[in-house]
């Protein structure tokens, strides 16, 4: 689209050329309106169901509630200050856009309204903290998590976003992270893991059977996440063009082979391909392709997604046992560990037609590793601090033993998942 304009205009040789880039495109805007809605759906519907389906029946609603409140609180703090920190001017931290001051319906980001870009990016912030909630379920206080979510977006998520995408220079190592492999997934996975360590294990963890409420909801949740992820990845191009089309296709392929990889691994080890495994494999494939979705080709995506699915399975079923941390719904293993794989793979597997002529894989790998390490260290340390503050403000971050035993749904929310 942009091209033909430029052609027409070039032929006319008019002075308007200079600003041609800054014009709203209704096609790009149409796509980004939808992409934003898609990513929105991921949190209160997709992740909420994916997580709720894997929770015990007595805590299903509490788990769902965490995704809902993460989205609500996340959206609010994002427009109040998060966007300013992430996308305002500045090196270490952005400033100047508190309460979106100065942005009007005419302001543009590329070829779309900036207000829409604000909304799009806000959905990323919200889902990041909602992902982390999966590590804390069945024992964290609802109030603690609510405050944690607000603080974490401002103090952990927004700065990391600023360095990767928002104009920060000192802490930007030139990493390739098209749609948030480091910013969202590694970050959220590490944050979840750290909070799970601080909270300690659930009383029943490793003792009695912790049965998932319903794999139906887990699969439905995963399908909605998959659907939303098209907005996440292809939307990160912020335009409806060939790169977005490429991102869309390889996202779909990576999710598919993620399912296949996980189920094959599960079948080999346990002879039982589970539905929760299939759903988890899709998510692992999607996490793995996220940073590479602007640069990989279809054969790259097959490798990235398949390995992603297998690594996810190994993490959840083998490595997790070694670490002895009750990362309840495996936010670290699926988003953190697989995210690291995806981030490294991004530098290795690139479509010829999207590779720069002077591409230097060695240098890029170092950039990726630097960004991964920065994210792990910053997120790890600051998440701990933020969680301690949230706990203090709410008189301890963990529910009492009786509530844990009877269930958070009845005791915290006064409700039951199903009254048959």
């Amino acid at each position: 689209m942009r091209n033909i304009f430029l052609t027409v205009l070039a032929l006319l040789a008019l002075p308007i050329i200079a600003s041609a880039e800054d014009v709203l495109s209704s096609g790009d805007t149409a796509w980004m309106l939808v992409a934003t809605a898609f990513v929105m759906l991921m949190t209160p519907a997709g992740l909420a169901l994916f997580y709720a389906g894997m929770t015990r029946s007595k805590n299903v609603l509490n788990t769902m509630g965490m995704s809902l409140i993460a989205f609500a609180v996340g959206t609010l703090v994002w427009v109040v200050a998060g966007y300013s920190i992430a996308f305002g001017d500045g090196d270490l931290i952005g400033t100047g856009k508190i309460m979106l001051v100065g942005i009007t319906d005419k302001s543009l980001t590329g070829t779309i309204p900036e207000l829409l870009f604000v909304a799009f990016q806000g959905t990323f912030a919200a889902i990041a903290v909602a992902i982390a909630s999966g590590s804390m379920i069945e024992r964290v206080k609802f109030s603690t998590f609510t405050i944690f979510a607000a603080l974490w977006i401002l103090v952990v998520y927004a700065p990391i976003t600023h360095w990767a995408w928002g104009g920060g220079e000192t802490l930007n190592f030139g990493e390739m992270d098209f749609a948030g492999g480091t910013v969202v997934h590694i970050n959220a996975g590490v944050a979840g893991f750290v909070v799970a360590m601080i909270l300690g294990k659930r009383k029943d963890y490793g003792k009695s059977a912790i049965k998932p409420f319903s794999p139906i909801f887990a699969v439905l949740g995963a399908a909605l996440l998959w659907f939303g992820w098209f907005g996440f990845n292809a939307g990160s191009q912020v335009a409806a063009d060939g790169v977005a089309g490429n991102a869309f296709l390889i996202t779909n392929v990576a999710a598919s082979v993620g399912v296949i990889g996980w189920l094959i691994a599960e079948y080999i080890v346990y002879k039982t391909p589970t539905l929760i495994g299939g759903a988890s494999g899709a998510i692992a494939g999607l996490v793995a392709i996220t940073p590479a979705s602007g640069s990989a080709g279809v054969s790259d995506a097959i490798i990235i997604g398949l390995v992603g699915g297998v690594i996810g399975f190994i993490g959840v079923s083998k490595l997790k046992k070694i670490f002895k941390v009750d990362d309840s719904l495996d936010a670290f293993w699926i988003h953190g560990l697989v995210g690291i794989w995806g981030s490294i793979a991004t530098a290795i597997f690139i479509a010829p037609y999207l590779m720069a002529d002077d591409y230097d894989m060695g240098a890029q790998l170092i950039s990726q590793i630097k960004a991964i390490v920065l994210t792990i260290v910053y997120s790890g340390v600051v998440t701990a601090i933020v969680f301690y503050i949230a706990s203090m403000l709410t008189g301890g971050g963990r529910v009492d033993a009786e509530t844990e035993q009877i269930g958070l749904d009845e005791r915290v929310h006064g409700e039951k998942a199903m009254n048959l």
């Binding site: 894997m54 059977a209 912790i210 049965k211 998932p212 599960e266 080890v269 346990y270 039982t272 589970t274 929760i276 495994g277 988890s280 399975f313 959840v316 079923s317 083998k318 997790k320 495996d330």
Partner: protein, 113 residues
């Protein structure tokens, strides 16, 4: 009057019901229960973590009959129909009932059955 309680494998319910009906026993009450016994539960997988399901789904059938003859007819019918020969086939318990009422008609004891 006698009450027969049988704990059986769920998928045998249809067969047992048919056997009872064939033995002219046309009233029964069924509930879903979970059993613990020699039969080891199968192991279930949960995201790669294996655990044993100790309580196994069973079905409980309760039948009240008027006479000892009917009781042994019922026990025999259940025994045959519920049999698979594999562990966990279940148990039959017989006890006494002192009084029975049919709510609709106010009939009592034998007539109520």
């Amino acid at each position: 009057m006698k009450k027969i309680e049988a704990i059986i494998k769920p998928f045998k319910l249809e067969d047992v019901k048919d056997a009872l009906v064939e033995a002219n026993i046309e009233g029964m009450t069924v509930s879903e229960v979970k059993g613990y016994g020699r039969q080891q539960g199968h192991s279930e997988l949960y995201r790669g973590a294996e655990y044993i399901v100790e309580f196994i789904p069973k079905v409980k059938i309760e039948i009240v009959v008027s006479t000892d003859e009917y009781a042994s007819l019922a026990v025999d019918a259940i025994k045959k129909a519920a049999y698979t020969g594999k562990i966990g086939d279940g148990k039959i318990f017989v006890s006494d009932i002192s009084h029975t009422v049919r709510i609709r008609t106010n009939e009592e004891n034998t007539e109520a059955l």
